[in-house]
């Protein structure tokens, strides 16, 4: 248990060490995404502007989470944990919005 070969990971559940090639690809994608979002912000698309901006941000964040933070290679528990955080965050936003969106709907 204490003399794992050096090229293997130090823990039993995940033996995966992400290679620098993957990291390079991801950082390139992130920088491209940054450029895209700056360009997109300068094109008038009406209601699509915030959607595109948030969409690109979500994709970038997903890349960071999956690859830089190794979630793609992690246990189900880690993935569930990330999901739980997202779920609760969305509950906060969504349910609070339920109030603010419907305030102007007029008396009933």
């Amino acid at each position: 248990m204490n003399d794992h070969p050096e090229h293997q990971a130090h823990h039993e559940e995940e033996h995966h060490i992400v290679s620098p090639k993957v990291y390079l690809a991801i950082v390139a994608a992130l920088l491209v995404g940054t450029g895209l979002t700056v360009i997109a912000a300068q094109i008038e698309m009406g209601v699509l502007n915030p959607i595109v901006a948030l969409g690109i941000a979500v994709i970038k964040a997903t890349l960071v989470v999956l690859f830089f933070m190794h979630v793609k290679y992690s246990t189900k528990l880690t993935k569930l944990t990330v999901g739980a955080g997202l779920f609760t965050f969305l509950a906060l936003i969504g349910m609070t919005l339920a109030d603010y969106i419907s305030r102007a709907w007029g008396r009933w």
Binding site: H11, L24, V64
Partner: protein, 248 residues
């Protein structure tokens, strides 16, 4: 979980590395526990920033024109540069974790130093931006001035001088935008400062070889924190800097 007789044996004969705490049966268990704990801590950070994102969502909806005008006061150049700096620092941090896993001490120290420097560059740029804001009296609660919004022509440094003047009540709402700007980037910067301090400590320890003997928990978990801070900025950048940046 590992099989029980092995656990009982290992526990009895103390066949564990010096960095394994006594309440853990195996190093794997300790690493897993620490990793999971770090993720849970990041969940608390998601919810903490979540409150600020909620406030942003609400007030951007209510005072869109003020938010547009406020956003145009931010420098697209500095913002994009900072985003690039932070993303690169995330890359160097991930490479640092790889170096630790591959037991390359020199590589690890280099990556940590690069991350550290990039973090400082980020904060430096932030300082420049904040100074600009202070000089233009765009800090809520400190002699806030709506002059740039009520009379855009008077604003010599404005990058988008084609903005139409805002009505006084909407111009006052730019203070809400700037409060969110300072609260969100300020909270983010606070997390960066904490991260940079820990990085400084880690560089010393890495130089002493603490992380390249197989015990990478600290580096890996700090990496999670650093990437999380990067993710927050990935959202802050478009939300604060990129509101309706249409050319005239």
């Amino acid at each position: 979980m590992s099989d029980s007789p092995a656990i009982a044996q290992a526990a009895e004969h103390h066949e564990h590395p010096p960095y394994q705490r006594h309440h853990f049966e195996t190093v794997a268990q300790q690493f897993d526990a620490a990793n999971f704990a770090m993720w849970l801590f990041l969940l608390t950070e998601i919810m903490f920033f979540g409150g600020l994102f909620m406030a942003y969502l609400l007030y951007r909806n209510w005072y869109f024109h003020a938010f547009v005008a406020g956003s145009h006061q931010l420098s697209l150049l500095w913002g994009t540069l900072n985003t690039t700096v932070l993303i690169t620092s995330s890359f160097t941090m991930a490479m640092g974790v790889w170096c630790a896993e591959m037991r390359k001490k020199g590589g690890l120290v280099l990556c940590l130093v690069l991350t550290f420097v990039l973090g400082l560059v980020f904060l430096g740029i932030k300082t420049i931006e904040y100074t600009e804001k202070i000089e233009k009296h765009h800090v809520p609660g400190f002699h806030y001035s709506v002059k740039s919004f009520v009379d855009p022509a008077s604003d010599k440094e404005a990058t988008e001088a084609h903005d139409k003047p805002l009505a006084p009540d909407m111009a006052q709402k730019t203070e809400v935008y700037f409060f969110l700007y300072f609260a969100m980037t300020g909270m983010h910067a606070l997390h960066m400062i904490i991260g940079i301090c820990i990085l400084g400590y880690m560089i010393f320890r890495a130089q002493a070889g603490a992380y390249t003997t197989g015990h990478v928990t600290f580096v890996e978990n700090f990496g999670l924190y650093w990437h999380f801070v990067d993710i927050i900025w990935i959202f802050l950048f478009p939300l604060l800097y990129l509101i309706a940046r249409f050319p005239a």
